[in-house]
C-alpha cells in the first residue's frame, strides 16, 4: 500500500475521532451526557451518511462513465424531496406513524426509492445505453421536481417553512436508536457496492470492453443503481439533500491516491465519512448559539473546492 493511502487513512480516522471533542466544555455530568448521548451518535450518523453518499457517487461516476454523476443523478434526491413535500402536506391528516417514525423521513424514503428503482430497472434491463439511463434520471428528477413545486404552491406558510427546512440538508439530533435504524441500510449498501469492485474496475476501461471481459454490464448497473438508491434514499430521508458530498469526495480521492477502483472505492467511504463529519462539526461551531444546516456548508465548501481541484488537475 502506498504512503499516500496510509496518510489519507490516518488523517480521516483522526478527524473522525477528534470531532466529538471539538467545541463546548465537556466537563462534569452535563459534559459527559453531551459527549455520549448527543455528539457521538451524531458523528456516527455523519460517518454513515458521508460514507454512503461518497461511495455511491464514486460508483455512479464509474457506471455512467461521467465525472459529473452523483447520488442525485438518478432522481433519488428529487424523489425524496417530493415524498417529503407530500408528507408535510398530508401530515395533519395522517397524524403520527407507529413506532414514532418521522412521517417526512418515511415518505421521503419511499418516494426516493420508488423513483430511483424505476431508473435502476431501466438500466438493468439491458435495453438502454448508458446515456439513455442518464437522461431518464435527469427527466425523472425534473418531473418529480415539478410535482414538488406544484405541491408547494398548494401549501400554507407553516408547511412551506417545514419543507424548506428539510430541503436545506441537516444532520438531525439523533439518538442511538436513530443510528441503529439507518445502519442496516448503510451496511448493506457499503457491502454490496464494495463487492462490485472488480466489475467496476473492468468497467473503467469502457462498457463494451468490460462486456468482452465477461462483466454482465446491465446486471452490474442495475445492482449499483438499485442498492445505491436504497442507501441514498435512507440517508436523504433522514437528513434532507446534502449536496456535493457524493460528487466531490470521489474527485478528492482520485487527486490524492489515483483512480484504481480498489483504492478509490474504500477510500471514498473513509474520506466521505471524515468530510461530512468535519463539515457537520464546523456547522455546529460557525454561528454562535445556532447551527448552520450542514447542506449549506457542504455546498459552500464543495463547489469552490471542486473548481480548485479541477483547475489544479488541468495543469
Amino acid at each position: 500500500m502506498n504512503a499516500r493511502v496510509i496518510v489519507m487513512c490516518v488523517l480521516c480516522v483522526a478527524a473522525i475521532a477528534a470531532a466529538p471533542f471539538i467545541g463546548g466544555d465537556l466537563g462534569g455530568e452535563t459534559g459527559a451526557f453531551v459527549l455520549t448521548s448527543l455528539r457521538i451518535p451524531r458523528v456516527l450518523m455523519a460517518c454513515m451518511v458521508g460514507a454512503v453518499l461518497s461511495l455511491v457517487g464514486a460508483c455512479y461516476q464509474t457506471i455512467f462513465a461521467n465525472p459529473l454523476a452523483a447520488p442525485s443523478t438518478v432522481g433519488t434526491t428529487a424523489g425524496a424531496t417530493m415524498g417529503a413535500m407530500i408528507a408535510v402536506l398530508a401530515g395533519g391528516a395522517i397524524g403520527g406513524l407507529p413506532g414514532g417514525l418521522p412521517l417526512v423521513a418515511v415518505f421521503a424514503f419511499l418516494a426516493a426509492l420508488g423513483v430511483s428503482l424505476f431508473v435502476a430497472a431501466l438500466a438493468g434491463s439491458g435495453r438502454a445505453r448508458v446515456n439513455d439511463v442518464l437522461l431518464a434520471g435527469i427527466a425523472i428528477s425534473l418531473a418529480t421536481g415539478a410535482v414538488s413545486a406544484g405541491l408547494q404552491f398548494t401549501a400554507d406558510q407553516m408547511q412551506l417553512f417545514a419543507a424548506v427546512q428539510w430541503s436545506l440538508g441537516h444532520l438531525p439530533q439523533v439518538n442511538y436508536r436513530g443510528v441503529a435504524m439507518i445502519a442496516p441500510f448503510v451496511l448493506v449498501t457499503l457491502a454490496v457496492l464494495l463487492a462490485q469492485t472488480r466489475a467496476l474496475q473492468s468497467l473503467a476501461a469502457g462498457e463494451d470492453r468490460a462486456h468482452s471481459q465477461g462483466v454482465n454490464v446491465p446486471k452490474v448497473r442495475g445492482i449499483v443503481l438499485g442498492v445505491g438508491a436504497l442507501g441514498v434514499a435512507a440517508c436523504v430521508a433522514w437528513c434532507g439533500p446534502i449536496a456535493f458530498v457524493g460528487l466531490i469526495v470521489p474527485h478528492m480521492v482520485r487527486m490524492g491516491v489515483g483512480s484504481s477502483r480498489r483504492v478509490l472505492l474504500p477510500m471514498s467511504v473513509l474520506l466521505g465519512a471524515a468530510f461530512l463529519t468535519g463539515c457537520d462539526t464546523a456547522a455546529r461551531l460557525v454561528l454562535p448559539g445556532r447551527e448552520l444546516p450542514v447542506g449549506v456548508l457542504t455546498a459552500g465548501i464543495g463547489a469552490p473546492l471542486l473548481v480548485w481541484l479541477v483547475a489544479r488537475g488541468r495543469r
Binding site: R198, A199, Q201, A204, A205, G206, D208, S212, Q213
Partner: protein
C-alpha cells in the same frame, strides 16, 4: 482449449439501415482469418455481433451454442476482443488496467497481477508497467490494449485493426505475435486494412472481403486471384509485385 466461432446468415439492422446482410463465417482454434473491406463495410459490426454486443438475426454460435446464451464469464473464457476505440479516458495505472482484464478468473490479486505482468511482457509493453495509461502515446496504448487481450487468455481472439497507431517495426512485431498465438492454437479473426502485414503471420491465412454489409469473397492469402479480389473490393486496381521472394500487393493510384 478448443473453440469454434460460427456465424451463419448474420444480419444486423440499425433502425432502417442494414449494417450487415446474411454474412456467414467460421473461425476455429488454430485458424487465422483476416477480414478486409472498405470503411463502413460492416467489419466492426460483425465482430460486435460475434461478441453478442450487436443484436442480430441469424446465428452467432460459440462452440455450437448461441453467444447471447453464455454467461459473461463463460463467453469471456472463449472469446476476447481488441476494440478499435482508445483504451482509457481516465488516469489508470497500466498494470491495474491489464489486471482488470482478468475479471473472468476467480483468482487472488497476486495471481492477476502476475498474469498481467506476463501479458505486458509478451506484448512488448513491460517498459511502462507503472505508467498511467492515459499519458501513453497512441502506439504504447495499443500495446497495452493487446496485453489486456492476452491477459484474458481466451482461445479465440477478435481483433479490430491491431496495428492501429503503431510504427512499421511495431506493426510487424504485433503480426508476428499474432502468428505465434495462432501457432499455439489460438483462433484469430482480424480486421485489417494492410493486407501485406498478413505475410508476417506465417502458415495458412484466409482472407474474407466485405463490402456494403455483405461478404464478397473468401480466398487464401497466397492465392493468385487475391489481387483481383481486392481490386474489386476497394474499387482501385491492385498489382502483385514480387520483392525478395515475397509478394507485395499494391493499390495502383490514378486512373
Amino acid at each position: 482449449m478448443a473453440a469454434d466461432l460460427e456465424l451463419i446468415g448474420v444480419t444486423v439492422q440499425a433502425g432502417e439501415k442494414r449494417l450487415i446482410r446474411d454474412v456467414s463465417l467460421r473461425v476455429k482454434s488454430g485458424e487465422f482469418v483476416a477480414l478486409l473491406g472498405p470503411n463502413g463495410a460492416g467489419k466492426t459490426t460483425l465482430l460486435r455481433a460475434a461478441l453478442g454486443l450487436a443484436r442480430c438475426t441469424g446465428s452467432a454460435l460459440l462452440n455450437g451454442r448461441p453467444v447471447r446464451e453464455f454467461s459473461g464469464r463463460r463467453r469471456a473464457g472463449l472469446l476476447a476482443w481488441l476494440p478499435q476505440q482508445a483504451l482509457v479516458t481516465e488516469p489508470l495505472e497500466v498494470l491495474e488496467l491489464v489486471a482488470g482484464a482478468r475479471y473472468r478468473f476467480a483468482e487472488t490479486r497476486a495471481a492477476a497481477l502476475e498474469a498481467a505482468r506476463q501479458a505486458l511482457q509478451r506484448a512488448g509493453a513491460d517498459g511502462f508497467v507503472a505508467r498511467i495509461a492515459s499519458t501513453l502515446s497512441g502506439g504504447e496504448q495499443q500495446r497495452v490494449a493487446i496485453a489486456a487481450l492476452l491477459a484474458q487468455d481466451a482461445p479465440l481472439l477478435l481483433l479490430d485493426e491491431p496495428a492501429n497507431h503503431l510504427d512499421p517495426g511495431q506493426q510487424i512485431a504485433i503480426y508476428r505475435l499474432l502468428g505465434e498465438l495462432r501457432a499455439q492454437g489460438h483462433g484469430v479473426l482480424c480486421v485489417t486494412h494492410d493486407v501485406n502485414l498478413l505475410a508476417h503471420i506465417g502458415g495458412e491465412v484466409r482472407v474474407v472481403g466485405m463490402a456494403g454489409g455483405r461478404a464478397r469473397f473468401e480466398s487464401a492469402f497466397d492465392a493468385a486471384e487475391l489481387a483481383a479480389h481486392l481490386g474489386e473490393l476497394y474499387g482501385v486496381p491492385f498489382d502483385a509485385l514480387a520483392h525478395e521472394g515475397r509478394r507485395v500487393l499494391l493499390a495502383r493510384g490514378g486512373p
